[in-house]
Structures are given as C-alpha cells and as structure tokens.
Symmetry: C2
Subunit: 199 residues, 2 copies
C-alpha cells in the first residue's frame, strides 16, 4: 500500500471512529431493555439463547420460559441449567400436534404463571420468553396482561421475546426489534432437520 493510500484509509477509518464514538457518547441511559426478535427466518430462538449464554458467561442471572417446545432432548437447557439458569418449558409440543385448545391454554397459562414471577424477580438480569408471540396470537395468553407485566418489571431487567408475527403493540413497547427474514432454508431443499442445529 502506498503512503498516500494508507493515509486515506486511516482518514476514512478515523471518520467512522468519530461517528461511532459520538453515538456511544450520546447513548448514556442505563436500563433493562425489551428486545423482540420476530420474523419468519431461522435464528430467533438461537439468538435469544445466545444472549443468555453471553449473560451467563458474565455471571448474570437468567430465567427462560419456552413455549412451543416439546419433550424432546433440549440442548440449550442441558447446557444452561447446569449454570443456574431456571427453565420453565411448555412440554406439550407444537400446538398442531396436540389439537386441543383447552389443554393448550392450560399448559400455556401454567408456564405464564412462572413468567409473571420472573418478571417480578429483581435478582434476574435477563428473562427469555421464547416463542411467546404464538401464545398471544392463539389467544392462550392475553396481550394486555403481557404488556402490563413487562411495564412493571424491575428497571434493570432485560427481557427477550421471540417468535413469528409479534403483535404490533409488543413491537411498539420494545426498545430493540429485529425481524429475521427467511432468504432460504435447507429444509426447503430437502435437507433433514438436525440435532444441534435445528433443535
């Protein structure tokens, strides 16, 4: 690289750095955030669990509720429960497997009671409500009750909600929202779902 080119590279990177630094300077409010990860692509639940893994690695205390998760072997639970993460799993599996709205509602409400406790627990730094969006869509859990519990939670508690088609009021209430779009999926090309990747 010529000296001139090197100088231009440094000047360009310096401008990026100044921009980033000034944005960091401006962001000084400290509070727990509500993070919603929605959309139809792969990577929502894993993103939630990646954040839990990161938080656990920093010695933070985490709680997890998993809606729509059956009794099959649970990799994230196997790992994270040994590190003190509390798990509340709705063990009925996918709702189209059970085909009974009444029992599904009872199961969802059972897990939701644990969520309400976690959302009041000052000692929990991070709470993951995995696949909660479907429970609201199906009418198993009331949207208003969710919004109220979120708004009353401890100020420094971060909450992550994952699942497709997050309700617009949930999106409005959130601090950070990502939409994971499906560009393509191996499953559509006939590749079998795999342990450690897909569940």
């Amino acid at each position: 690289m010529t000296e001139d080119k090197k100088n231009r590279y440094q000047a360009r990177q310096q401008r990026v750095k100044e921009k980033v630094d000034s944005r960091i300077e401006a962001a000084q409010e400290e509070k727990g955030i509500l993070l919603v990860i929605t959309g139809n692509g792969k990577g929502k639940t894993t993103s939630g669990f990646g954040t839990v893994a990161r938080a656990v690695g920093h010695g933070l205390k985490c709680g997890v509720a998993q809606f729509i998760k059956g009794n099959w072997d649970n990799g994230e639970r196997n790992l994270l429960e040994q590190h003190g993460v509390q798990f509340h799993v709705m063990a009925t599996g996918f709702t189209w497997e059970t085909q009974n709205k009444e029992t599904d509602t009872i199961a969802a409400q059972g897990v939701w009671q644990h969520c309400l406790q976690m959302l009041q627990d000052e000692s929990l730094n991070l709470v993951l409500l995995d696949e909660l969006t479907y429970m609201i869509t199906y009418g198993y859990i009331e949207l208003d009750e969710v919004l109220e519990a979120l708004s009353r939670r401890p100020a420094m508690q971060t909450v992550i909600i994952t699942g497709r088609a997050a309700h617009r009021e949930l999106i409005a209430a959130a601090d950070t929202v990502s939409e994971v779009k499906n560009v393509k999926h191996a499953f559509e090309a006939g590749i079998k779902a795999q342990r450690g990747v897909d569940w």
Copy 2:
C-alpha cells in the same frame, strides 16, 4: 368452546399437522449445512452462539472464530470454552479503532489460518465464523479462498457465518440464509450498550 368450534379447531390444526408432517417426510437428505446470518439488525452473533450452546448441550464438538472482537470481556467465550469449545479471536478490535489496514490484514489472516484447520477437522460438528463477512468486504480474506474451504469441508460439518452484507456468492453457496433486519434499536433511543446484552 362449543363442540362445533372445537371440531373446527381440531380440523384446522390437523391440516397444519399434515402439511408439516409431509414436509418433514420430504426432507431426508442428511448433511452439514452452511448457514449465513446477515443483515443490519441485532441478533446475528447471538444467533450463532445460541446454536453453539445448543450443540454443546447435545454433546457435539464446536469451534469458533471471532473476527472484529476486541480484548474486552467475552461472555460467550467465558461460558463455552469451559465446555471444550475452541476459540480463535482476532483481538485487534473493530477495524476503525486500529486504522491500519496492514496490521488488520495480518490479524485477520492469523485467525483465518485457524479457520482453515477447523474446516478440515472431521471431529468438529459445528464451526462458527463470527463476523467473517466484514473480512471479505474489507479485502482482508479472499472470497474464493473462503468458498473453496467451505466446499471441501467434511460432509457432516455445519458452518455458520455471521455479519452484515454477506457477499452474494456466499449467499448462493449457503443452504440456509436469514437476513436480520433492524426495525429499531435501543441505542438509537439513547440507551447505553450493556454487558450481557450487547457484548
């Protein structure tokens, strides 16, 4: 719920179940996949690490390369390294912090040599190449070399690549691609980045 309503609910769920079952039936090819998680929203790196956490929880063997990751405290590494995950971290930090293309290239190439080894290692079930896309964009690592190493990897090895603006040839080579779109971000509203959430 009336008997009639219940029957309709069951019939609807039964149709969903049949559709899902037939798709599962059709997807029988078994191989490691290439998963690309790109886009400008929050949740790409955490999604990669969530999959590593899941795989580790199933007893699978994983390797991680982190490009663009400084020397600051590394939550995911703290947790996962104790479970046998190998880490190769490019410790120079964000490129606009260093402002020197030559040293950045050397640092990137150093990590890339470990990636090449991981991509030949039959014993690794899952390899995460976190933020690799930027290395290709900046010209620190050659796209062709990445594509070739990916195509020659062990048949059952799954590879996850994260980062913004994944090259179209990387997307073409991938089995599963998700684009994480930023809908909104707490940082833009003046909320400070946090340990355990943002890093």
